[in-house]
Subunit: 334 residues, 2 copies
């Protein structure tokens, strides 16, 4: 059975495009308070689990050893836009561990931020530092150094860093992660396919600390504080994750992943959220996540208004004319 | 009933994302040789009907008056990449009619082509000439001049240019186009929502000339010759429309539209094609169109091989590693 329609794209009064998807909202015991579509089929969360992948950076003592504060920890959880501040922060992380750009195995791409890309193009070309995943990779490298092991090949599934990270993902999600759930991510680390219901539970645990060891709960709290305090570091200028966490601070954790994934936590409600837009559309995943925040987080009137532009974004053309909008379906609202 | 699954996006061995859509392939009488999904619901073809919108540029005598050859006529049918050659060509069209950039109402955006955008950003900002629709708009302006009417407001639905263009679309598609099928396009002209089965029939007529007046059939043939002869002008470096028409010449006409639309014609087979990916994904619409060409156009072995990279494109990550592929479903192949 197909997943339900969750988002419609209107042009004028007509539906021009539509997005199906699945949603799981769960507590730390795995009880589902909302399940739309198939939440049992494994999906690749991609970058949406970077905060879970960063837990060991704190738990291992690496973050303390290298003196990392909110800026660096938020970058370790980030899909950043490659703006100068992001690049400087990741450079600082590498330097703290005695490493340089050459250690990064994520590959290079132009900054997501257009102004940053244009500025860079005037004088040069992107390096691995500009890759949106460079903070995560710097975190992996620092973890390897803190573990006292050779960091070369840190991105391979069989490297101790990735084996340890996989064990954290299994612990957090309760899903068994074997070779049949593995592939290769855009930045070459192994992504693991995990059902949405397990991802939602993992983020409920991440947000509330419930069901975690004291050390892991403390690491999760520290990462959440870092992202809430430095939301620009988690994404970048004008991006959804940044704007939402600027708006709600520590009350909401959200993180995007490629191909229409969003994960998040509402710590005060003890809830975790996992979203997959079937067709991989980020625009729909953002609207869905905004709708879920509006549904499950108690909001003041001003906050509800502020959330509207994410839940029902207006589409404007090259002359600035309103030509349509995104609209979440009733399946998400009730 | 949802439209069928037409394209799967694989990461490793797992399906990461999937695209549903509808397809109509018809002859000039409107007989459907292939219909997948709902081909009766109106969809906005967006830029996929630019060649139909350009028919009057030829029929009116404007193209002859201004001395337009294949380059200019292909630009009138184009969603170009804003590369220097495109900008020069559109400038030439405007100049021929005694106009300049200020007459264009399409709005400005950065060139689709990344290298062109980076080069432009070094010294300036985009103008309406860089808008992918500027050739179509120049065509509308030239049509207004040839009609001997005021070109101001040429983009409004009630302007004679758009009224005449609407009449051509009604004639070609057999669909009645009223205010309830109208909205505002990205470049501010009226887009008209038309069922895929009507669009497919229109392109069968466009490709074969059957069912058209001699004047319209001649105009269609001239536009097809222009696009086949100057496919770079129709899109740009590395783009699907350009590469496919380079590969097949006059045997295939294809044109992309925003939000996952593709229209095309196989003149030798007397067939027209219309595709809408429900979620608006261009990557899926391209794979679908490639699969339809492979199914309905007799191919030599080398051509079939050359088409594979469009039908089943390999996905590579930032390190150049194969991480997955697009795969069209059996619904399209049989």
């Amino acid at each position: 059975m197909p997943d339900p329609l969750l988002v419609e794209v209107l042009r004028g009064l007509l539906v021009e495009s539509q997005h199906r998807g699945a949603v799981a909202v769960a507590d730390s015991d795995g009880s589902l308070v909302c399940a739309l579509g198939d939440v049992t089929v494994p999906v690749f969360p991609r970058s949406a689990v970077k905060a879970l992948q960063a837990l060991l950076l704190v738990e291992s003592g690496a973050a303390d050893r290298y003196g990392f504060g909110d800026e660096e920890l938020a970058l370790a959880c980030a899909s950043h836009s490659g703006e100068p501040g992001h690049v400087a922060g990741v450079t600082h992380m590498l330097t703290a561990a005695g490493l340089d750009t050459g250690a990064l195995a994520c590959g290079a791409h132009w900054p997501i931020n257009q102004a940053a890309a244009f500025a860079l193009a005037k004088t040069g070309a992107p390096s691995a530092l500009h890759n949106n995943c460079s903070g995560k990779h710097a975190g992996f490298l620092c973890l390897a150094c803190a573990m006292g092991i050779d960091h070369s090949g840190y991105w391979r599934p069989e490297h101790p860093v990735q084996r340890e990270v996989r064990a954290v993902l299994e612990d957090m999600t309760g899903a068994a992660l074997g070779p049949e759930q593995c592939a290769v991510d855009g930045c070459s680390v192994p992504p693991w396919a995990i059902p949405l219901q397990n991802l939602a539970r993992a983020f409920a645990k991440f947000g509330s600390g419930r069901g975690l060891s004291p050390e892991r709960a403390a690491a999760a709290a520290r990462l959440r504080k870092a992202c809430a305090g430095k939301p620009w570091n988690v994404a970048g200028t004008g991006r959804f994750c940044t704007e939402i966490m600027k708006l709600f601070g520590a009350r909401v954790f959200v993180k995007t992943g490629a191909e229409g994934v969003y994960c998040g936590a509402l710590p005060g409600q003890g809830l975790g959220i996992a979203v997959k837009c079937d067709d991989g559309a980020g625009r729909a995943a953002e609207a869905i996540m905004a709708a879920l925040i509006a549904r499950f987080l108690p909001l003041e009137a001003g906050e509800r208004t502020a959330l509207t532009r994410f839940q029902h974004p207006v589409l404007r053309n090259w002359n600035g004319v309103d030509v349509g909008a995104l609209r979440v379906t009733d399946a998400l609202v009730y």
